[in-house]
Symmetry: C2
Subunit: 132 residues, 2 copies
DNA sequence: GTGCCTGCAAATGTTTTGCAAACCT
DNA sequence: AGGTTTGCAAAACATTTGCAGGCAC
């Protein structure tokens, strides 16, 4: 197991995610951190975000066709993605009728719901078997 | 409305998607077309795939963190994405127990199910209002 | 003939990687 | 000292765009 160190940069990244109301992208985290610490590098922010996800200190929120987002909340909840700007937010739904729904918490106008299963395809199952 | 023309390249692209059992990515479509027509350009394939989606001749299948895929089937159905290689397939589920499920049709090992809402965030709603 | 479509090359946006120097413990 | 982490630059990957010439209608 890797020896995970607690560095200044890692704490800066973690604090930015923790201080966010919404789910910032890596670029947004970088922009906030770099304001006060102009010497930090973008790759350090990316690396630390993923380290923090591995350590389960934050959660990765993936959307369709957009950059990765990061979430300070670890507990399971649903997300909504803006089809225009790819922003991601938490969702708390109040159903109005079948086709359109207003999300109270965020002001999003909900258009649709994607259900996507995640798994391992036959080829990759083979590959994994061979590695073991 | 744009005058959509029927070109050789567009037909090649459409036929490749129609001939696919699974959901090829743009790159995969390009690789198949370019075998027989070495002068076709990657951007033409991308452009025509999107044109065909706009014309509803094929369907766009988006996955998390992977390239776009294209689907000859227009009817609604669910998809599964491989977490290792990002391949996308149709899903027909046979529930075994709560956490793991075998998908008969495709041989995927299902690991999880993502529910993602799609909508328009407050900022983009504003922007759209101003354009109208 | 008009103007959409193509092919090329370059740009874009997001993320990853190689590497030497800096840092922690 | 030893190994991890950083910053930089470059690469990687998927996709889009500008443009001049070609082709469909």
């Amino acid at each position: 197991m890797k020896d995970k160190r607690q560095t200044i940069q890692k704490n800066l990244v973690l604090n930015v995610v923790r201080a966010s109301d919404n789910h910032p992208s890596a670029e947004e985290v970088y922009q906030i951190v770099v304001k006060d610490h102009p010497s930090i590098s973008r790759s350090t922010v990316y690396r630390n975000l993923h380290n923090l996800v591995d350590e389960k200190q934050i959660r990765l929120v993936q959307v369709l066709n957009g950059p990765e987002h990061f979430d300070k909340t670890l507990a399971m909840h649903y997300h909504i993605q803006c089809t225009e700007c790819n922003r991601a937010s938490d969702i708390v739904v109040r159903t109005a009728n079948d086709s359109e729904t207003i999300v109270e918490s965020s002001g999003y106008l909900v258009k649709s719901k994607e259900i996507l299963y995640l798994g391992i395809c036959p080829d990759c199952q083979e590959k994994i078997k061979k590695l073991e």
